[in-house]
């Protein structure tokens, strides 16, 4: 039986070509019609340090990065020692024999990366040597990679043909090494080319594209891992008349200037991670209080405090809902896949405009750098929404009533004072109890406008459901599918609209005996949110800085189902 997928981990020192190799492989395979997903982890330094990237290639949509490795490509000895036990029973380790040697291993294939590259006349062809070996290991026709090579390096430069030839030679050399070794992983099934156009993007890029599709005009941000690429993309691409992108002097300046831009009529966004998000708490509260649209993207990483800047975690949910003091509950959208990242970027901007307030988009490190091929979004219609703008006379009572009202824009009519203090209908500060009642209820009533969130539901008749959030969706879905195929009675619910959450989904979950919530944090934050809604939720927690393994979730879900723990609401 042919293999339907294979998992390759490239590991070594930062700067050795680990990430380039993995992404190159992903690109090549995606071009050939396979589904791909990468997972990267970096050290928190500029040069060197242990780094690894995992690429999973499949004949169908990839949900998780793979529990065990079919191939480990070890660029140095430290990588070999660290990762060799993750290689599956039938797996192979391809190692750089020019750097170190391996004794007593039945599955180690040594190649001198640098020496083989040198033979091609191009020292940088080492990646293609490795790719050639990998192709041979899964009986992948080499011409697929030759085609990728040709397309990638046909750039109209004089050196093109030389590079193409040397890379093709490298492919051949790697292929021969693998053939000689006798190792084989089994034949990879032919690609079933996805229907429709596809794009290959990572989570950060997808969020950026989605927000621009909504009509984003202003982006003001500050560098912080793993959100920095969004700032850089915006600096390069959100240009021209009516656009403004800037690297601010701090996260406090980011959020406050965002509120200013939103107040002045622009669709505005920033991106940050935990520590920066903490600094933005007061500013987000101002946007809520003064009813000003803006979007804050928080790409979660290991916390708390400086935490683990380059590792993945889902521990900012509670702070995303309540980033500032007082009675507020900020709308939160948490995409779980790269494809959802596009629509989260789009909907976050639209929601902010619609309800005239701040919205938090919660991504995570694992999604931010994950390269995945996704269907190209349908851009045939204008997908953006714009706030209701006031166009009457001066003397307008901006904050009159218990519901959303049109917003005047500076420079046009209807001058008013937007205020962080409690205020009357004109925006002037007041302490009257009746005003605090009116304004508080008005601010919360606007959340009812955000009731268009969709959700997934499967096996609704089951009394137990698996309900993940964010990036844990993929591994959870893999686990759920496996358990279903083994005959377990289990339901599935999922939404990226954490708050407000679709009422229909909440009602369905309230009826369950048990709701199982896998999440990458210690506190079981999403489970606690569901419990506060009257749902019997129990968390499967993990706080290692790494994603869930599917087999771990399978065994944990089995335990919970057999024990059927009931937790009081």
């Amino acid at each position: 039986m042919k293999k339907q997928d294979f998992v390759v981990r490239f590991a070594g020192e930062g700067g050795q070509g680990v990430v380039t190799s993995a992404e190159g492989l992903a690109q090549a395979m995606a071009q050939s019609g396979y589904y791909v997903q990468t997972f990267s982890t970096f050290p928190s330094q500029i040069r060197g340090g242990p780094t690894w990237t995992q690429t999973r290639i499949s004949t169908s949509t990839v949900l998780s990065s793979g529990d065990d490795l079919d191939v480990l490509v070890a660029f140095n000895e430290e990588a070999y020692n660290t990762h060799k036990d993750d290689v599956g029973e039938d797996g192979v380790i391809v190692y750089n024999s020019g750097d170190f040697s391996v004794e007593n291993s039945e599955k180690a294939l040594g190649m001198d990366f640098a020496e083989l590259a040198k033979q091609t006349g191009n020292n940088r062809a080492a990646n293609f040597v490795v790719m050639g070996a990998l192709a041979e290991l899964v009986d992948l026709p080499i011409d697929i990679l030759e085609e990728f090579n040709r397309a990638k390096y046909t750039r109209g430069r004089p050196s093109d043909q030389q590079i193409i030839d040397s890379n093709n030679m490298a492919l051949g050399l790697g292929s021969v090494e693998a053939k000689t070794s006798g190792f084989n992983l089994g034949e990879l099934a032919d690609a079933i080319k996805p229907e429709g156009d596809q794009i290959l993007v990572n989570g950060n890029q997808a969020i950026s594209l989605g927000s621009v599709a909504a009509g984003l005009e202003v982006f003001i941000g500050y560098p912080i891992s793993p959100a920095t690429p969004i700032l850089l993309w915006m600096e390069a691409n959100l240009v021209g008349e009516g656009k403004f992108v800037y690297q601010s002097s701090s996260e406090i300046e980011s959020i406050t200037s965002l509120v200013g831009a939103g107040y002045a009529g622009r669709k505005a966004m920033t991106s940050t991670a935990g520590p920066g998000f903490s600094l933005m708490g007061e500013g987000i509260g101002l946007a809520w209080m003064a009813e000003i649209p803006c979007v804050v993207v928080n790409v979660q990483r290991g916390g708390p405090s400086t935490g683990l800047p380059t590792k993945t975690e889902q521990s900012d949910l509670l702070t995303a809902l309540y980033p500032g003091h007082g009675d507020l509950k900020i709308p939160v959208i948490a995409p779980g896949t790269v494809e959802e990242c596009f629509y989260a970027g789009l909907m976050a901007v639209n929601w902010a405009e619609r309800y005239q307030g701040p919205v938090v988009l919660l991504s995570e490190m694992a999604l931010s750098e994950r390269n995945q091929n996704i269907p190209k979004p349908d851009l045939s219609k204008d997908l953006g929404e714009t706030r209701q703008i006031y166009q009457g006379n001066n003397g307008y009572l901006r904050y009159d009533g218990f519901e959303l009202s049109p917003m005047p824009i500076p420079g046009q009519s209807g001058s008013y004072v937007a205020n962080g203090s409690e205020h009357d209908a004109m925006g002037d500060t007041t302490h009257l109890p009746s005003r605090h009642i009116q304004m508080t209820e008005r601010r919360f009533s606007k959340l009812n406008l955000l009731n268009d969130g969709s959700f997934e539901e499967e096996n609704s008749s089951s009394n137990i459901a698996v309900v993940p959030w964010g990036g844990s969706k993929g591994p959870a879905l893999d686990a759920y599918n496996q358990l279903i195929s083994e005959g377990m009675d289990l339901g599935w619910y999922y939404t990226m609209y954490i708050h407000p959450m679709p009422e229909e989904m909440l009602n369905a979950l309230r009826k369950k005996d048990l709701v199982i919530v896998p999440e990458l944090n210690y506190m079981g934050q999403y489970a606690s949110v569901l419990r506060s809604e009257g749902i019997n939720a129990v968390a499967i927690t993990q706080y290692t800085g790494l994603p869930f393994k599917v087999r771990h979730l399978v065994s944990e879900i089995k335990n919970l189902v057999s024990n059927q723990i009931k937790v009081g609401v």
């Binding site: 890029q205 202003v218 240009v239 601010s248 300046e253 500076p410 004109m426």
Partner: protein
């Protein structure tokens, strides 16, 4: 926002310097509307927190747009507003605690950008609204509610601070000199770049410095504040430094450099003139 808002319950104390600043700002705005033929709706007043921040609600006459922001953050709010729409006339109003204490970190960046806004700072050497704590501009040794044994850190010199940060328009005045104040604020609004009008605006409750500033011959008190001599060339930075290194508080235009590009000009010619790709083209860039 208007005289007759019965729900607005804030008042400045009788004799507060901010009354004078109010008349000065109102005068400058009236002049701006008339001479620049700009509707008042084109002006946005951005307020910090404190007695002085309430300026945004206390302005009488025709009402501009306003935003009463969070403590210390009038400058970044103004930055976002101005860059969202560079046609707007943006004026910040804040006290010494808001602007030079918690808000200090924002002065440098706006100066380096030469952001085309005006900041009016009402300096009374105290945190008035919270009832009399020491501020960066309280005297060394001052007894205040938060320094019962005397303030043990030095007094910040705001004007020297602005000059070192590279602010391109620096003026100093007293709240009682309403006509001069009005003229300086008007000039500041017309200045192409970051302009600060720093106003001695005494707090009659907690730090009444009227006598110290104006002097009192009968008591033998020499005035601390003095008019900058006619001959001072505000475009000469060395002259400005010398002025600020001498004793007393000079009143008038200290420094002005209107040769620098403003931030929105530079932003426009570097980035504003570029052509943005359509969303289709941007997405297509990732096609497999």
């Amino acid at each position: 926002m208007t005289l007759k808002n019965p729900e607005y319950d804030f008042k400045w104390c009788p004799g507060c310097g901010d009354f004078g600043v109010r008349r000065g700002i109102e005068g400058a705005l009236v002049q701006h509307v008339t001479e620049k033929e700009q509707p008042i709706n084109n002006t946005v007043v951005v307020a910090g927190i404190g007695c002085s921040g309430n300026m945004v609600h206390m302005l009488e006459k025709e009402q501009p747009f306003g935003i009463h922001g969070i403590h210390g953050r009038s400058l970044p709010l103004a930055f976002g507003i101005k860059m969202a729409n560079p046609e707007l006339n943006v004026l910040t109003v804040a006290g010494d605690g808001d602007f030079l204490g918690i808000g200090m970190e924002h002065i440098g960046p706006q100066a380096q950008r030469n952001l085309n806004i005006t900041a009016v700072v009402m300096d009374n050497g105290v945190y008035g609204l919270t009832k009399g704590q020491s501020s960066p501009t309280s005297e060394l040794g001052a007894i205040t509610t938060s320094t019962p044994y005397g303030k043990i850190e030095g007094k910040l010199n705001p004007l020297r601070t602005y000059l070192s940060f590279g602010v391109s328009f620096i003026a100093s005045i007293m709240s009682s000199k309403v006509k001069d104040l009005s003229a300086l604020v008007y000039d500041a609004m017309n200045h192409p770049g970051f302009a600060i009008v720093h106003v001695q605006s005494p707090c009659t409750e907690y730090n009444n410095t009227y006598e110290a500033l104006k002097g009192n011959p009968s008591k033998g008190i020499a005035p601390l504040a003095y008019d900058i001599p006619e001959g001072h060339d505000p475009t000469d930075i060395l002259a400005a430094q010398e002025l600020l290194n001498s004793d007393g508080i000079p009143l008038g235009l200290i420094y002005k450099d209107d040769t620098r590009e403003t931030f929105d000009e530079r932003s426009h010619r570097t980035i504003g003139v570029k052509e943005m790709k359509s969303i289709d083209a941007l997405v297509d860039g990732f096609s497999i």
